[in-house]
Subunit: 123 residues, 2 copies
Amino acid sequence: MTEETSEPAPFICGLDATLRIVSGKWKPLILFFLGKGPKRYGELKRDVRGVSDKMLIQHLKELEAHGVIVRTDYHEIPPRVDYMLSPFGQSLVEAMVPMCRWGENNTEAIASALKAQMKGDAR
Amino acid sequence: MTEETSEPAPFICGLDATLRIVSGKWKPLILFFLGKGPKRYGELKRDVRGVSDKMLIQHLKELEAHGVIVRTDYHEIPPRVDYMLSPFGQSLVEAMVPMCRWGENNTEAIASALKAQMKGDAR
DNA sequence: ACGGGTACTTACCAAAAGGTGCATACTTGT
DNA sequence: ACAAGTATGCACCTTTTGGTAAGTACCCGT
């Protein structure tokens, strides 16, 4: 740290910019599920199968810091908080829809492509 | 390794499936640039700024193994190889277009969202 | 009064991801 | 003859990422 590296590195292109927001193992999934409407922390955790508390919270904080989601704390006694997309996040989710559909329409092909590769790896 | 864990874990949803293919720091970018037409290794490396040889090749191999790109080796003397999208890859790239556009249309907002966050982090 | 659910937080650790630098084998340009 | 470019491969090491397990403060149902 001899110098301040505050520069976040310029974007190569639009896609690169988008990736800076959605990169993170579970972020796209979180966004996808929030696209279906506001959700409480627990609901989200059940939806995004396999995510740990640590990751879920960390990603939620980052998405909030980036202005794509909005956190609402009801300050109730058994904690109650929910998360929803901001308009910015909403537009992002819309941009992700084709990728979701691509996955839906090619699930079989993807599954076998991944399986085929494993055989090669499993030397 | 007491048991074969050959099961690649079921997809949570279509998006999850898609992510299994495009996950990797540079993969979306590689695909994006290949969307503009076949490219030689060197060209790609110049396009995808910042990628190391190791990563570029590794990602290219995976994408090829997954059937999204096709490698052509001309067996020429100073090595000449090029990469292009397969029809499968082509459809994937089309599904990514909206995300590219989203990034293009929101570059400013994204840049400031990222910058704003850094200030918070820099405690 | 105890177990379970709520939404987190923190510390510690393992694994994956990625970068650097060197090597290859042959050619073209200077 | 020597440096540079071509498309990789490999060993080594650092960084980043992610998981586990524990704890917190408070409530409700039994």
